[in-house]
């Protein structure tokens, strides 16, 4: 079920109302059934795969804890669990990629290995719930999380519908205890949740789906365009991904919050980051903290790579790229972002020195704007690989970035993209609204941005948001981009 579809408009209030009407002891069952229905809306049979994963990791969690308590070797269970979970992920997501590359490699060495292709559709959100499952077994192994003996509660931890298909990837110690807490109907909390959901929906249906057409248009036919279109598409793609994914996350967090659950916010105003390092603390937070805790830190603690921070960063980002999709474009995207981070660390002192020589204050407005813009630009450039259909397309885009900057071409190129002046004006206005709202919300912190304003002012905002969705929303059932991961 998509958050931006009519069935969800019925599903969400019905589940939320039933949740509060149910006795506390049975609420987990209600949520589990609701989550199954939510997931089965896509491909019902894939629920079995999910339950297979759940059963394996549930059993392994208990076995790991038993072994730890008895002083036995728990690592073997952890390895079994990781292998089982990763093989499901590998089979559905990476098998074809691996097979095709093996064939290409074989051809290179004149060894002809026929590529085996499996024609399964990738289960929705597989990467998200496998990571969530892995996080559970690893935490049990590390002793930071007790093994969950209630199968229903554990299943719900993996399947909790607000974050089932596209995260946020929750840690077991944050989510599992909440399933045992009693949540009451609370006007303020539910009102806050609905506001967050409305804002998320606005970002998705009004901004992201509008920008998606332009970006998809350029990426699906790269040979038909030149530098100006590529620059616009690559500059808009971070906003597109942000509005799409953070829109999804807001709806996820909001729908959980309405029932009393606290889910981690996945984005923290990334466009105000002043360095790539800061960017990754603000962008897709739960994924990158997962990678940091379960890949990067263990690599830094390993015997071989203990003193090799740069290599560890690169490995972590390569894997993060591969996590997004089984294609070389994603791997290269990850590698570029890893290189940014390494370069940023290596040149930190030099850049500080230059700021000193130029007399730029660390918190001065000019430096802030420069660093924020440079960070955004770097992310946009790397994003070309993310949005391209193939490495060849991405290379073509890079090679053409400087072409077409003449008056004759510029005059017609944006119109020939299919968008009239009104579209561009309206899009620019929406981007300004997004920027101002994010700026205000960042300054307001946890509180709702208009919390201190008079009632009429707040209601103007609510009505404005709803009317914007009514008049300008796109309701062609465009799925969230991160569903495919």
């Amino acid at each position: 079920m998509l958050f931006n579809s009519a069935p969800f408009l019925v599903f969400f209030p019905v589940v939320t109302v039933l949740y509060f009407l149910y006795p506390h002891s049975l609420r987990w069952a209600l949520l589990l059934v609701a989550s199954c229905i939510f997931y089965m809306w896509f491909i019902p049979q894939y629920l079995l795969i999910l339950f297979l994963l759940i059963t394996i990791d549930y059993s392994m969690g208990i076995l790991i804890e038993d072994a730890r308590l008895k002083g036995a070797h728990a690592k073997k269970y952890l390895i079994v669990s990781i292998l089982a979970t990763c093989s499901v992920l590998f089979f559905f997501k990476y098998f074809n990629f691996f097979s095709l590359n093996l064939t290409a490699l074989g051809d290179f060495f004149d060894l002809h290995y026929p590529a085996k292709i499996i024609n399964f559709i990738l289960p929705i959100g597989l990467s998200f719930h496998t990571f969530q499952s892995l996080s559970y077994v690893i935490e049990v192994y590390r002793g930071r999380q007790k093994a969950e003996h209630h199968f229903g509660i554990y299943a719900l931890y993996v399947m909790f519908y607000p974050q089932l298909v596209a995260g946020p990837i929750e840690r077991p110690y944050n989510l599992i205890p909440q399933f045992r807490e009693k949540h009451n109907v609370d006007y303020q909390r539910i009102a806050d949740a609905l506001k967050q959901m409305a804002w998320g929906m606005f970002k998705k249906v009004v901004i992201a789906d509008r920008l998606a057409v332009l970006v998809n248009q350029v990426c699906s036919d790269v040979h038909g365009y030149q530098g100006p279109e590529f620059v616009v598409a690559s500059l808009l793609c971070p906003v597109l991904f942000y509005c799409d994914f953070s829109g999804y996350s807001d709806i996820a967090v909001g729908s959980a919050k309405a029932m009393g659950y606290r889910i981690t916010n996945n984005f923290n105003f990334p466009f105000f980051s002043r360095s790539m390092d800061e960017w990754w603390w603000r962008w897709n937070i739960t994924l990158y903290s997962w990678i940091r805790d379960y890949i990067y830190i263990p690599l830094c603690q390993s015997r071989i790579l203990r003193n090799n921070r740069a290599v560890n960063v690169l490995i972590a980002f390569l894997l993060s790229g591969l996590w997004h999709g089984a294609a070389w474009t994603y791997v290269i995207w990850g590698a570029i972002n890893g290189c940014y981070l390494i370069f940023s660390t290596l040149t930190y002192k030099v850049r500080k020195g230059i700021h000193g020589i130029l007399g730029l204050k660390e918190n001065g407005l000019f430096l802030k704007i420069w660093q924020t813009a440079a960070t955004y630009l770097l992310f946009s450039l790397a994003g070309i690989f993310f949005i391209s259909k193939s490495v060849g397309d991405a290379v073509y885009i890079f090679s053409r970035l400087t072409c077409g900057w003449n008056e004759g071409y510029l005059k017609n190129c944006f119109v020939s993209l299919g968008f009239d002046r009104a579209w561009w004006t309206h899009t620019s206005e929406l981007l300004v609204v997004l920027f101002i709202m994010d700026l205000l919300q960042q300054n307001a912190g946890e509180k709702f941005v208009f919390a201190k304003d008079p009632v009429w002012c707040r209601w103007m905002y609510y009505y404005g948001l709803v009317l914007a969705m009514v008049f300008w929303g796109h309701y062609g059932r465009n799925p969230f981009i991160y569903f495919q991961f």
Binding site: L122, A191, D420, V466, V470, Y475, G476
Partner: protein, 384 residues
Amino acid sequence: MGETRLFISNFEIKEGRRIFLMILAFAPVLLLVGAVNICVDPAGLYKGVIHQYEGLEEQNAQSLIEGRNIENVRIDMDDRLLQKHFIQKMTSRADIVILGSSHSMWFGENIFPGKKVVNNSVIHVLLADYLGIFNGYAKKNLFPKRVIILLDPQLIAVPFVSERWLSIKEDTFGMLGRLKIRSTRIKQPLISGAWFNVFSFSYFQKSIEKLLRSSPQQIDPDHKEGRIGQLLFKDGRRLWTMKLLSWDIEKSRRKTIMELQDGTFMQEFNQRKMDKELESILENFIQYLINQHIQVTLCMLPIHPQVYKSFIGQENRPEVLRITDVEHYYQSLAQRFNLEIFGSYDPSVCHLGDRDFYDGDHIRNDVIEKMLKNKGAPCSMPGI
């Protein structure tokens, strides 16, 4: 605070009431959307467009039978009813009958000179329409020599019937009876599907668009100069509005992108899957035609390159009908029944580009004519 039987406290009930009132405060927005949708009703969902023009379809059918072309036909005429009357009034056997959709409206005597061709294409066609229309021939035992069936992808995906089908409903049941099939796919909904659109935001946007753009003469069927309606030729072939004749590439490109943006094309494919029962009905129908010694030709027409790309790009979405699977099925169907099949959904197979389309959905008439008549080319019509 006493516990109630519903496991929530009185305080919580009060809080719930406040939330309900807060949500109720947005009711005016929904009422506005509903009122505009019903009043403006751009697609005629609530005004009952069908049968709105008493006798118009029959009059038009009579004109066609008399061998006259008709100018400025209302675009919102019930074209299923027109076909029903057209076939009812026929007295001689046709050489070729076209069963198709808006995509095949230009198939006619222009493609098959010297042959008696009847184009029975209707807009937004579904499989039930083919059955219902062809039952008209079966009832009169006036079978044509050859039937060309346009295979749109949605033919073998539920729904089997649409709201538009009601005027030939009895005939569809009639044909199902001839095929000895009792379809479980015809379900009369308790509430008309149109009422689910009352609060639809996208329908509201279309309503506003219509409010802002429409001028009285655009919907006036008697406005001769503008030729806003259709030209209906005596062989049933149709030429869409003059707007299409004044086509230009930029307008077409913009329209396609806008329609891709608002999901117009995806609506045909979303939440739809190939349906075994519909496949079986289509196969039975083809077998029935073969049993009547009718030469059957199957046809797939290319989709606009950008729209095709978009469909292919979305094939990994489980809720979307996979166009390559549909094409594969139709190809295998032709092979099994040993039928002629031509064309492809993939525009590159037929060497078509952006310029060859009026919009994201329809090939230009001149291009279609050239493509079908181009003997030996990949998408030419067999047996011309």
